[in-house]
Subunit: 238 residues, 2 copies
DNA sequence: ACAAAAGTGTTGCGCTTACACCCATGG
DNA sequence: CCATGGGTGTAAGCGCAACACTTTTGT
């Protein structure tokens, strides 16, 4: 069985840059080890072909579930990569997405079928943030670099950082997240003042437990309030 | 002759939102009248199929030359639209670009071959900025809406506005451009102070001539200086 | 001289930045 | 009682927003 067209068509794929965060290991990206050529054995972004009856975003979500088991996360289109020779086999155009996930909430998946899945650290403060990564297949390093730049700008004018934390978090965790993504330190007092003045965080009655020192207060992000403020022209700005 | 593949593939097209600006007629978008079904006779964004041996951006530039005669303009990828039923004939995924052009420098093209090409005004200040446009084919109104939003945010943190003006312009023209795109008035004194302080405009010795009142000073954008400042961490911010 | 648009400064206020110490808790 | 991280306030300076009149030129 084959599908024939009057004019040639590029193949269409999606690739997903999944960012995760843990307090200890900082900012991470999810990679899979390819089982098939080309680039068999090399690490790559999760992704695959877009089916005829699904939107591109649906394809991205489907591939994420199939390849890494992660579901229901923040996902946004990043850029479409269409260099003529980006795939050695064939002309392949890829729509890249980036996703944010809390590693505390969704624990790391075990490897699926034969191929390995793993998290690798990103060091935003370094000149090259990707020295800790293996070589990547295709133009995936370029895609990842674009994704990191996007995340760095987005986090400053949209409250996407909360997607990388568990629902309840401390202000120190939030600040460390911002520092890990932006790659430079922030002033503790100023950071807290600015965020609390926005009135987007709800202080929870509970405190974190099991720490060997004073227990920090927990907060959660008030997304309903954020929606309401946004309607009235409010712009999040770190 | 036909091209056959093991799995079905969506067709891949580009669509271009070309914005223009004239002092009198304000912000405009370039549309073409379709000669062929579907949507024959309706107005649409210029665009067409991506060839196998060209990048997506090259396809966008080629279609712009072929359909509207405009060349060598500022062009940036906008978003990729992939709703399953956005084209009634077939599954078609379209990579949208937006372009900026000075209508003074590149005068409006006459109609090419059988199909008409024309500019239509956009009223950013209105709740619906597109009331002056004809009905658009496919999801082109959605694409246009996305493009306007992108232009509105981009113009505030990157000096793209100058692409819509002739090389020599007055501060009043620049301010009117910003007001036309953002859809609200700006304070004249503050606007001038802020821009001149950035040190990105070169005051020219000449003044505009042939006006029935005091002749305004002409400026040009110093793009070399902008590059230099950007390297040192400068961020344009209106 | 008049019409039309160009051009120009000051002030008050809010926001940002820089900065260091005490507090609560668990071991 | 000590180690660890949590939490807090103030002062100086800068940038932003608001605001109205004079200047130049052509007719």
């Amino acid at each position: 069985m084959s599908y024939c067209y009057k004019y040639p068509r590029p193949a269409l794929t999606v690739d997903c840059v999944v960012f995760g965060f843990t307090a200890e290991e900082q900012l991470q990206v999810l990679l899979i080890q390819r089982g098939l050529p080309p680039f068999a054995g090399q690490w790559a972004l999760p992704g695959g072909f877009v089916q005829m009856d699904e939107t591109i975003e649906a394809a991205a979500r489907r591939e994420l579930v199939e390849e890494t088991g992660v579901e229901n996360l923040f996902l946004e289109q990043l850029y479409t990569f269409g260099a003529v020779d980006r795939d050695p086999r064939d002309r392949v155009v890829s729509v890249a997405y980036y996703a944010l996930i809390s590693l505390q909430s969704h624990p790391t998946q075990a490897a699926t079928d034969a191929s390995a899945v793993d998290w690798f650290p990103i060091l935003a403060a370094e000149e090259d943030p990707f020295t800790q990564l293996p070589a990547l297949a295709f133009d995936h390093r370029e895609i990842l670099s674009t994704a990191l730049q996007r995340l760095q700008s987005k986090i400053r004018y949209e409250p996407v950082g909360f997607e990388l934390l568990p629902p309840k978090f401390t202000l120190t965790q939030l600040q460390e997240l911002y520092e890990a993504i932006l790659g430079y330190p922030l002033d503790k007092r100023n950071f807290r003042k600015k965020l609390l003045k926005m009135d987007l965080l709800i202080a929870l009655p509970e405190k974190q437990v099991g720490v060997p020192h004073r227990a920090p207060r927990l907060y959660r992000f008030d997304s309903a309030r954020y929606e309401a403020l946004t309607q009235r022209g409010f712009v999040f700005d770190l």
